[in-house]
Amino acid sequence: MANFYHSVRLDESLCKGCINCIKRCPTQAIRVRNGKAVITSEFCIDCGECIRICQHHAKLPTYDSVDIMKNYKHTVALPAPALYGQFNNLTDVRVVLTALKIMGFDDVFEVSGAAELVSEISRDYVMKHTEHWPIISTACPVIVRLIRVRFPNLITHMLPVLPPVEVAARLARKKAMAETGLPAEDIGILFISPCPAKTTFAKAPLCTDKSEIDGVLAIKDIYPLLLGPMKQAALAPEDLSISGRIGIGWGSTGGEAGGLLSDSYLAADGMENVIRVLEDLEDEKFHDLQFIELNACSGGCVGGVLTVENPYIAQAKLKRLHKYEVVARSHLDATPVEKPFWKNRLEYEPVFKLGESLLENINKINLVEELCARFPGLDCGSCGAPTCKALAEDIVRGKASENDCIHILREYLKEIISPFSMLDKDLNQGESDQ
């Protein structure tokens, strides 16, 4: 029933069994077992940190190949605003949009246009639901999954609005069907994404039954294919743009909050910072904020693992790009969105629970504490778990043993061989006496 699809895979042949990913994972979802990294599916939230840290490129993001375009009679590209931050000296978004058509897409629908509609919907929702302040953004699928498994008390604070890409996909399909007369299945709605978490959303969305996104392409795959067409497009760019400053701003941190036209917000990015904000929020430390924007990647979407440019440079480029733009080009009165809200409630998934009954868990917690007292507390990772406490939890869950700790093992071995070493000493003693 619970949905734990993931967009991170392991190439076993490349994995060296080092401890970099287990240390970096914010939900402690990875263990090294038998020399290879293994992801615990229920703990993983698709943040992509392991992909970022793996020097051996053994962690692979899941997304679609550009060849998916061939599967449809009519294709629509949905460029994420982060795409615009990838290019040097870009001053006109229309050049990128036109180049996407030259590259082979039949049409283009800017996600940033849909983002402006989502901004309008969110503004209204935030003002009407003061009882849920601060409202937490839900555009980043990683944040939704993180709250689902770790912050049950914050679920009521979540903005129950579909992310811009989904709104864009729905609008784009409707438009394409009207314009071409083709049935829905002949139209390919293809998102050009900064991150694999959107693949997870497209394949197994939470809070809505089915996504209208047919494929998720990587910005890093599209980028080299666009450079040539962009030169051509620059000569006569088509007027395909449907967004302004607000929509393009969504590509980096603070952009979504900016679209609310209120100063009462905070915007946090990067897993560690996001978790800290959520922890504090859970303790009700913030009182006067209306909105909290959270992005799993540092810098926001421009920091996704499928992008090519340094996130901070991309952020600067986006800023320069939208400096002289109109505030917004898409508006709800011209482009109404049908049912933009979540269809299903988000259900808390207590995946970190050690056992079933409370009594059982009392025993298990005591056992964890006891084991932790025995371990050296170095958090060396040699056992394959990120911390001594994580190993203790694994043992309690029946997934590891005490001797996985090399320090405990060493003590154990010392104990076994001690009679022999005494013998050895005696022999040596005898030799030197001679």
């Binding site: 770790r150 049950p152 008390n153 303790d283 629970k353 050690l354 409370l358 009594l359 868990n361 917690i365």
Partner: protein, 148 residues
């Protein structure tokens, strides 16, 4: 392994270090995570973490730190916050929302709004304040497990 588990409860002990705001909240955060691992209902977790966080902050602001003991049983989460600080002069006043004796530099940090004790009481099913001037304060709070 050991028969410590026979008592059907988890006992956790924490030391709150004095005057260190950067570490205030550490104990409540640890307890919160343990409660989540135990599958305790989100509502109980919310009450415990807020009550304990407020108590911890109080110990840092007013009492030069102290000791916290948390006992989790199938019936309740019991928190005992013990300090050897100056004691509370007027408990009744301190329990009123908005009343604060926190120094100016503490309020500048956004703490000391006079909501600590009232919040703690609001989040707990039972709360007892034992205090003696010049000797210290012990606050005992209990959040009952609801049987859902």
């Amino acid at each position: 392994m050991s028969d410590q588990t026979g008592s059907a409860g988890v006992v956790l002990k924490y030391t709150v270090s004095p005057d260190d705001f950067t570490r205030a909240g550490e104990a409540s955060s640890k307890v919160k995570n343990i409660l989540k691992q135990m599958g305790i209902s989100p509502d109980v977790i919310r009450k415990v973490s807020i009550a304990m966080y407020e108590g911890e902050i109080n110990m840092v602001i007013h009492a030069h730190g102290g000791e916290i003991t948390v006992t989790i049983t199938p019936q309740e989460v019991l928190m005992e916050l013990k300090d050897v600080g100056p004691g509370i002069e007027d408990v009744e006043k301190a329990m009123k929302a908005g009343y604060s004796t926190a120094p100016e530099q503490v309020r500048a940090l956004g703490f000391g709004a006079g909501m600590g004790l009232p919040n703690m009481q609001g989040c707990t099913d039972e709360m007892k304040v034992e205090t003696e001037l010049g000797v210290g304060t012990t606050i005992t709070m209990s959040v009952h497990m609801e049987d859902k």
